[in-house]
Point group: D3
Chain length 249, copies 6
């Protein structure tokens, strides 16, 4: 709740990413912003994106293990650029299969990390089945982690808000942003993180343009009174549960 | 934007209410909360609810003018209990007719009051056509007031966020709250405002129960960590435009 | 409420039809069913469909007044075949313009007829703007007629349920039936009513086929246990307000 | 079909409840109503709610088996208070895992019980994954039980209507009631059933208030003409398949 | 893309059908049209519909294997009448269970057949769980087949458009057609294919009537200018991904 | 219908634009494409955008008439750059008021121009009320122009398809593109048309970036097989009525 005393304590952002690169393009502004204000950020990659999102490596004749190692290194570099911790569950991709076992691993992450905010993929993506699978397991794990009767270390979880980050083709994925995040201050860090993924250089421009585009919407929706700078950058999110607050603003 | 310097300045809440009583049942928690933290609150009643929401007065044989005077007095009392200003456009109800002239009056209110937050009815209500009509005119007036080319006193408006307050039968009105407002501190003021409407005594209980119900949801969605009191009270809102913020929380 | 004593009293079905022929194709099974069990049925045609739904007459060189007279005669014939009363408001079509005056005429109909059930067009039809206009005015008039403060003869209306009948292209009009009406017993009357509209002979087959199709769905959704006959006929409706009942069945 | 001769025969209501307590809070009005008019009611609890909905027992240090036994006893007590039969599939909760085996058990229940009406959870609940899982398996089992080729004892099922009962946070669960059930006569039985769950005493008030709230909506949607008593109580439902009927009312 | 040179090359239509008869009723017009203009058509039946859609055979006391053989023969006859190839995965029905293994078999079909167009069931069908299961696996297999990293023979797939064919009760299945296919020239072949399924003779009329009904909509939506014949026949489809084109028409 | 003989005849695209600049940013790729292949293109501007979309002119102290003249000249220049005809109805903006008179003017345009394709704004835009007003009048005029009984010169209209072009904030306007138009060949003309609006130079970049973004989606949805160039540009559209075709592709 935005103006409660406890919100001045450092929080913890947990980011669940289906593949090793997803968090970079879609949420690294939020991650860097959190770190910049003193929060902890923990990224969990369910897979390395080794089969579905490493086409150039396959074309180059790399082996599965080589690709996984390379993607891991890239993602670790990006996390470091953002000041975030990162871990990998190596659950496989294309398809990322939902299972009680993988969901349980996420429950244990929730119990251990105790996030105050959760970021993950949206529930719909007609172009990529792994993304909604990651979202469903994340939401289920968050609920299970709240139950005192669910076995595991640590205390039952509270009710951290969940935000879905932007898919590659937002309109086709029923992605209607209800939160526009001003990431202007975090922009240099996001650029640096993107550059840790040299194999997808064409994405740098695509997501830089998107940052500009969402920044225009930040300004448009904030109104001219706030005096936001002309080069405001943004990221778009969908809040899944209702916002709880003491101030309408 | 929640943590920008200017948000510590006093804001102004503008409430557009189709009938004289609507703001009391549905938004007086938000109004009292705003006043308690030093904001200005201005309520505009488009009508007195003289035809459609004064059944007991008609049954008692009162005249139209008597009913309007009585409803005005009640609403003025409630506004005073909340510490808010109030004005009446006397545009008639059942039906409240949309017109460019009435919309223009609202534009002039926007230009004069310069709200930082706007509250009004939601866009759908199968039980009451006046409520969506009020919402449509409010949204249109807000847009017109933003245009420098639109004639009128004062400066063009910024982009104040708009929140829809709760209709009488929320599910039937496609009302899916995305903001739960903690109004515990404002609850005594809301009770006092409701008691300014003695002709609708049965509504006191109905909306007191609703405050409890929404309070349970405040607690459920905030999580146990925040230590909210057992008697937390709430009001539900739908944010119409995306939230602009620098913090995901 | 289905099993309350008063529901054994004769009811009154009010049908609001944008054009003179609409009620025949889309609701005459329900009308004849009501009459057969002793209810009163009153049809109000807002226009004769003189401009938009009388192409063959225009091609034949008829004048506007001739066309209106012909359509009136047809509709009166169809109403007689169904055992229903009919009246015409002659408000013009293509476009049927919404206005407070026309809505007020409908309010007075509601106050005079005191319907226990209301049938009209659905709120969406991308192929015909008159149909949603008729629906919006009907819904608004029903609400206004409920208010004691609204001027007019008669007592304030109760809360009669509203059913939307089927548009010409249901899926395109977001028409998702939630009521399937068994009109097998009323089928001969519906056929007779359709034959009162000889200028649209091609519609006879189209709506006879539709009766069969909806009849198949009646059987499919009722289940085989009910022993419905193989030639069951149906009409599809959308209930607009929640059903109130004492029995889930 | 509401006025067919066979509907005067006694029916059978089958209630599928994810956890041992769900049916009490959400559907016991409907269950008691059915029993009061001579129908049979059978409740199937897929789990005891032992992990996810027994927080106070876990805090009190009870073992899993103790908790399951206690929840079973409570649910049996509530069923007895309603005059209903009850059985437990003990499939585990938090998570309640969907499987062909558990679905098959439900098919065999359908074949054995031959319900004329089915009640279960709605398909969406962002706060509880077990509820939609129960709904999906119930719907699937109902379809499988209709197929003569599906192995099992008994005759293929007909097409009993399905009603979803109310989730804890209806708007967030896309729960838009299209049936409001008058449970005034069953209210004392519902109160008694709720009191069989002493560990959740705070829920008594919450669901008593909800009964009042839905009762107000019963009266509002039925209209004043029906003369419903001031203390009318209600439960809200979503009908999943279209209603089949011979009367629009 | 409609007017690119390569579209004049012969294409390949892949049809994924949950049961052996589905493609006949719902897509044989499209299949025959494709064959008539020189395209290849390949039908994959995931099951024979042996349990869920062979009621008359079960009533006649046939064994499971007899039924499967009979359904296979019927489907082969229908495919031959359309000029299409057909294969059977024999994965079982009622329920058709989703699994990585069955999805992988479909991936291999995609890699081998290299379709330029894909037809399958829509994602929602409250009356039949096998149909959405088939659709989900088809969509997932199409995505997996696009990934160079997914193991299998053949080249990675391009992005063939996907069309959902019409379910038995379209409105209840949220089926809103956005493509109306003129199948007039293919109509005789569709009739012949339907006659290969003599056990469901009542369906012949039902789907013949549907062809007429969709044909009326073809004419209505094409406009009178095109001079379509009075006996135009149609099939309705939902395009799942956006159409890519160089001409708006 | 894409492969009917008559589609090789030259068509006529009618574009209805609420303000003088809208067609440039949002539809000039489609307009130039049509002209390049020999179609006629006619643009109707309902207003000049003089009040709502000319902020810089108002700040520069220009009069209403000066602004209208300037915007007209800009739009004429852009139309010339595209090879399109243009006309202005001067109906006023902010607000653009819906009226039967203005709708009738559009009907007469439809009857005179006889479009084979219609482009206009989408029906929802929370940031600009004029855009949906223009869309509603365009759709209504198209329907009225189809009726032989509606008075006016010329023949009744056929059923030209309608496409909505992209609003400024697509997700917030429920804009889900179902057509992606490849405008690579028309891109230079679009750039030239945009440069005719020098007062909105910042929009050049914004809509150039959008052309790139939609071009990426053209390639993604067309698949790699088509060999589209790396600098493919696109525009996004929503088709309002179902596509009628003889080929699924």
């Amino acid at each position: 709740m935005s103006d409660q005393p406890q919100s001045t304590q450092a929080g913890t952002v947990l980011v669940v990413s289906a593949h090793a690169g997803d968090f970079v393009w879609r949420a690294s502004g939020a991650i860097a912003s959190a770190v910049q204000r003193g929060d902890r950020a923990v990224i969990v990659c369910l897979s390395f994106g080794e089969r579905g999102e490493s086409a150039s490596q396959w074309l180059a004749g790399k082996s599965l293990e080589e690709i996984k190692a390379m993607r891991r290194a890239e993602a670790e570099g990006a996390a470091a650029a953002l000041g975030a911790e990162i871990e990998f569950l190596d659950a496989g991709d294309y398809p990322l299969l939902e299972s009680p076992e993988l969901t349980d691993k996420l429950v244990q992450v929730f119990r251990r990390v105790v996030p105050t905010v959760v970021l993950t993929h949206p529930l719909t993506d007609p172009y990529n089945g792994d993304h909604p699978a990651a979202a469903r397991m994340t939401l289920q794990a968050r609920i299970l982690a709240q139950a005192i009767g669910y076995p595991g270390e640590g205390e039952p979880l509270g009710a951290p808000p969940v935000f879905f980050f932007e898919p590659h083709q937002p309109e086709q994925s029923d992605f209607k942003p209800n939160v526009l995040l001003d990431i202007t201050a975090a922009w240099p860090a996001k650029l640096e993180a993107m550059k840790c993924l040299p194999a997808q250089k064409h994405m740098w421009d695509y997501y830089s343009d998107l940052g500009v585009r969402r920044g225009v919407q930040v300004k448009r929706n904030a109104g001219p009174n706030l005096g936001l700078p002309v080069d405001t950058k943004g990221e778009a999110y969908m809040r899944y549960y209702p916002q709880v607050t003491t101030v309408l603003e």
